[in-house]
């Protein structure tokens, strides 16, 4: 049978015997493999222990620090080398919970929260080079700091503390001195993030009812601008390294997913889409990718994905 003359209706008896088809199939297979490889590269799993995790942050381009539930009673800081996949506790002998790590832009300081006694949480600022620590201990009674973050020059630590029913943003030096109020608004403020040029401050606030994301001048908290406006929770904003974009978390589509937008609140784009939870995004230092915690099949693991 000769089908070389068009028009010709393909028939099963002919196609397997023809020479061009294996080539076409091969090309298709290559394309499919390439597409799959590209997809895999766009969103890749970094851990596989499935334990409860939160708060990843980059120490440098190859090292992550994050929190894992090491025991039912303990949240533990863990450091992971992305090339080797090896990980270790940041503080090997620590039995108290430590969470919400933040790293200064030069990688010299690590700030984090440390559970001290009953409902009492302090903030520790660790100088990784000089091997010394400063701290803001909890106030008397039940008390706790939240959400440490560094200024663009790494000289000050922003943190959140509640008093009088208002949850405010403070800052202090890396030796835990010179504590100042930066943002004092009604409701609850949280998750401060400073742009790399030091000009802008992002944070979440309930000043308008529910959690929304706001931008202000980093120097004094003035020049407030609301970036999100949604009945759902918009939380955990973080500036991209180049200061042009903001990654954040929202349940606006039903469950926790990760979104990115411009620093003026425009161009909101959903990055993740899964029936389970995606949360705690942090930018890779290259500004092209994020690492986040993905709940999958009942476990929690870190994933890294490109940001278009």
């Amino acid at each position: 049978m000769n089908c070389s003359n068009a028009p010709c209706t393909p028939c099963p008896q002919v196609l397997p015997a023809s020479r061009p088809m294996p080539l076409v199939l091969a090309v298709l297979v290559v394309l499919v493999v390439l597409a799959a490889t590209t997809l895999e590269a766009a969103d890749r799993q970094l851990t596989d222990d499935h334990r409860y995790k939160r708060d990843p942050v980059f120490l440098d381009a190859n090292t992550l620090i994050y929190v894992v539930q090491a025991r039912p009673e303990q949240l533990q800081l863990v450091q992971r080398d992305l090339k080797s996949g090896k990980q270790r506790p940041v503080h090997k002998d620590e039995t108290r919970s430590e969470l919400e790590p933040a790293v200064s832009p030069d990688g010299r300081f690590l700030a984090f929260l440390q559970s001290r006694s009953a409902a009492s949480v302090g903030m520790v600022i660790e100088d990784l080079r000089q091997k010394k620590t400063a701290e803001i201990p909890p106030a008397s009674g039940f008390s706790g700091m939240r959400s440490p973050a560094f200024s663009h020059d790494g000289k000050r630590v922003l943190y959140v503390f509640a008093e009088g029913g208002r949850q405010k943003i403070f800052s202090c030096t890396t030796s835990a001195g010179d504590r100042k109020v930066l943002v004092d608004a009604s409701g609850i403020c949280n998750w401060p993030s400073v742009s790399r040029d030091g000009r802008m401050l992002l944070y979440g606030s309930t000043r308008d009812g529910n959690y929304e994301i706001y931008r202000a001048r980093a120097s004094d908290g003035s020049g407030l601008r609301r970036l999100t406006r949604h009945k759902a929770q918009d939380v955990r904003p973080r500036f991209s390294p180049d200061g042009r974009r903001v990654v954040f978390v929202s349940n606006r589509d039903g469950n926790r997913e990760i979104y990115v937008m411009g620093v003026d609140g425009s161009g909101v784009t959903r990055l993740t889409e899964h029936p389970e939870r995606d949360d705690y995004p942090t930018w890779h230092p290259d500004g092209k990718r994020i690492v986040y915690v993905a709940e999958r099949k009942g476990g929690f693991d870190l994933r890294i994905r490109d940001v278009p």
Partner: protein, 449 residues
Amino acid sequence: MINVGQFRSRTCGGPSRRAFLKLGASLPLVLGRPDLLSAGLSAGESGSGPRAKSVLVVWLWGAPSHLDTFDPKPDAPSEYRGPFSTIATRTPGVRFTDLLPRIASISDRFALVRSHVSTQPGHPDGGTVALTGFHEKPGPVQPNFGAIVARHRGRDGDLPGFLSVGRGIIQDSARIVEGYGGGTFGKAWDPFQVVVKNDGSVDLPALDLLEGITPGRISDRRSLLSQIDVGRRRLAAAGIDDWERAYQMAYGLLANPSAREAFDVTRESESTRQRYGYTHFGQSALVARRMIEARVPYVQLNWSQTVEAITPNFDFGWDTHIYNFEMLMDRHCPLLDRVLPELMNDLQERGLLEETLVVVMSEFGRTPKINPRAARDHWPQCYFSLWSGAGVPTGGTIGESDRLGEHPLTNPISPLMVGTTISELAGMTTKDRAELNVLPGGTLIDELF
């Protein structure tokens, strides 16, 4: 995987290791003696069969905020309402906070009580009141509702009648909750503790009974008797005098493979275990479901062993004096919102919900007014519970709180009413309760019948 004593053993699949038993001073002496069992009344003896062949209490230890979960007040002033939005549920006119979308999607399967009232603002005392209906002092401490139901039912098979699934006897930083167990019935009616880890492996401390004895050696009578003597001396040293009950219970569980297997969640499919989630609470809920399937009369599934939300060496209960909004948003509510609907779905799909009463409750609520630390403190004056299964009317609310969630406007419901209602649905009559001298003066939550 079940851990017996200090060593692990697998009851199905994979390599097995020898299992050893050892005597523990904290041995719960539950069931196991025929004469005690005869003291209880079977369900059939009290007239018609019970609507609830089993009771599953999901104990949210530490006290969740009612305003931030099942009784939001979106129109309250900002110093009360909190940061969360509200979402519609499958129950017309009822809204939850947006922390609980999955539970909202099954709200037609439970009744929501929004008008609980307790009198004890502290955790141990409040826990005892919530679990027994009565204060710890003046004593004696009354039996847990689970002990009452278990004693009424008597024992059927080798599984205990009252199980506590979680991480051990519930406590706060100072002491245990006196009302966790048998109370006036004695320690013989304490719950059988089932300790679950987040990978689903199970510890059965009660089987820490006879150090050095493995299932295979039970048939070796000489060795067994030798070990029993050792165990008996240890029990005596520990002040536990009812050796026979302890021995019979442990022997029954140890010698009966099907009874042991009931605790083994590795017999579940991987997808089922994933749906519950690889957390301590998720896998505990799966064990609890297996216990219900095995027709254990009363299972108390504990969220945590301790109340404190964030305190060194405590396991993240609901006691959110600080970080209330953060903890609820980041951890507690997502976890509850995964596990509870899965548990309810699983019970329903297996045809168990019709004959199982599920009650989700805690010792009290939390302050409607946000505290100076931007969190919430203890509030026994108003809180919630969920009721499902056993034919209770679902898809509605019982009781209403005021506009700030501070007090019930209608139908104030006490812990004694909770216990009386649970026991009634489990087949006990007023006469049964009187004969056991429990829950005096208790009345029913009529809307649940």
